[in-house]
Amino acid sequence: MSAIAARTRIPVRSRTPDPVTQSRVFRSEWIKLWSLRSTRWSLSLGLLGLLLGIPNAAFDMSRWYSLPLQTRLHYKSVDNALIGWHFSELAIGVLGVLVISGEYSTGMIRSTFMAVPRRLPVLWAKVVGFALVVLVLSIPLTFIDFFGSSAVMAQHHVNPSLSTPGALRAVLGIPLFLTVLAVFAVGLGALLRNTAAGIGTFAGIIFVIPGFVGVLSTSLKNAINPYLPSNAASAFFTVTRDPADHLLHPWVGFAVFCGYAAVLLAAAAVLLVRRDV
């Protein structure tokens, strides 16, 4: 074919746009979330970890009389019943990072952004989808754990109820904390775009930094400690509070933790649009 003929334009059919919408992107992310075996497993295991309060209570009850008298007199029935959040915290943090870093490591992010070139709807859909799953599943699991543990603790009459001061806040607070933590982790993953860096940073923030702060001088430690993400969060749902910990007021603690998640997510959103992939 000659160059002239090749340049002849063939009319292309006109088309009516059928745009990408936030709800369509949400649906897409929903399919993605549930179509990975690793997600299903780690999410299930992570959230089932919330039930660990029950065996923990059973263990305490079985050795009740060998526990120190002070422990028995001031038994932290609510906190002990809900102790499983430590496990879920780690699982949700790791999974939240993976929800987005996994796309970068496999190259899937390019397919994703080619389909949704404005990119932000993807971040919102991932955050909302994952956080919603965490919220919806963790509420019933926390209640089941609470009542299960309470039933076990009844044998030594230290069982808490929802009317125990602070109990309802804790039972609802843990799912809320895990939900915001899900946002925090997805934001971190989107910001760092790398699984190892994301999980490492998450573990650093939650588990390592508190240890470093612990060795600072008392005044410095007391000034910083309450504002660390992990401590601000636990101030929200810890019922038995040790004055030496200088925990924030529960709702202030929760607000501070939400602030961290919001800042991370905002930074991730700004960079998501700007960076090349």
Binding site: R13, R15, D18, P19, I109, V277
Partner: protein, 311 residues
């Protein structure tokens, strides 16, 4: 249609694409050629809105990629490095992409059948062979039945049957009036599929032309095969005119540096009979090597381009 205008992309100090301008028209298959590191993939990423240009524009159907409300219906793409999560099944991968555009499961099944992945659609992509991955990539690019299709190395890893299938598929798309833009380092394949070529080297445009023109231009310095009963006399005369002559067998010469016209005229002048005068055609691959090597960017100064002759 893809319109690239004065496109430049710098990564820090390194210039990946520099002042690149070309147009990919609908209705034909356009090949995108360039040595490794020439900036082909960068150019494709710029067109697809994955990287932001340092300056210049890349428009698809008259709009920048991120301004297209439904990009998968406008342009479908497959990038060389598979942009697919290995833990997901082929079907779920396609369903997730389709969902962003409200494309139904019926179309997902259609493209799965079209690329012949029906048997393995529920298997995890991580278990796929290179060829199956390519087919899935092509399926993704066709999901939205787009007006433009961009494929980076589509025949990589395909068996001969698969290669022929891709060739026919792309020709069919072009015949429907779609814009088809593909890169390949398999020059013989490109010669069979593409009608037009965009050739780049070191991020700059080297040629934007038809395959024929490209080969013709590169063939300008190609040898002429001459047969004559008085070959030795002709050889002496040609060498006096500073042509480069090789004897290839009895009564046959291979002449470089003279056109068939010049050789014929000289023979007539000297009364030397000619039994054959055949300009040699070179393959697209040779043309590509010739043009990229002789373009300033690629001149290494080491050796004179050696042309492999295809009779």
């Amino acid at each position: 249609m893809i319109e690239v205008q004065n496109l430049t992309k710098r990564y820090g100090e390194r210039v990946a694409v520099e002042d690149l301008s070309f147009v990919v028209e609908p209705g034909v298959v356009t090949g995108f050629l360039g040595p490794n590191g020439a900036g082909k993939s960068t150019t494709m990423r710029l067109i697809l809105g994955l990287d932001a240009p340092s300056s210049g524009t890349a428009l698809v159907g008259g709009r920048a990629y991120h301004e297209i409300p439904d990009p998968l219906r406008e342009i479908g793409a497959m990038l060389e490095a598979h942009a697919i999560h290995t833990g997901r099944s082929a079907r779920n991968h396609l369903r997730a992409l389709a969902a962003t555009h409200g494309i139904g499961d019926a179309r997902v099944e259609e493209v799965i059948d079209l690329v012949g992945l029906g048997q393995v659609a529920n298997k995890r992509v991580g278990t796929f062979s290179l060829g199956m991955g390519q087919r899935l990539g092509i399926a993704s690019s066709l999901l939205g039945d787009p007006l433009t299709v961009v494929l980076d190395e589509p025949v990589n890893g395909l068996d001969p049957e698969g290669i022929r299938w891709v060739r026919e598929l792309l020709r069919g798309l072009a015949a429907e009036g779609k814009t088809v833009f593909l890169s390949s380092h398999m020059m013989s394949e490109m010669a069979l599929i593409a009608e037009r070529l965009v050739v780049i080297g070191k991020g700059r445009l080297i040629a934007d032309t038809s395959v024929e023109e490209f080969v013709e231009k590169a063939s300008a310095g190609a040898p002429v095969q001459v047969r004559s009963p008085r070959a030795e006399d002709l050889r002496a005369a040609l060498e006096r005119m500073r042509a480069d002559v090789d004897s290839v067998g009895d009564g046959e010469l291979l002449v470089r540096g003279s056109t068939p016209g010049q050789i014929g005229d000289l023979a007539a002048e000297l009364g030397i009979p000619l039994h054959g005068l055949t300009p040699q055609h070179i393959s697209l691959e040779d043309a590509f090597m010739q043009i990229t090597r002789t373009s300033v960017e690629f001149h290494t100064g080491s050796e004179k381009p050696e042309l492999k002759v295809v009779a």
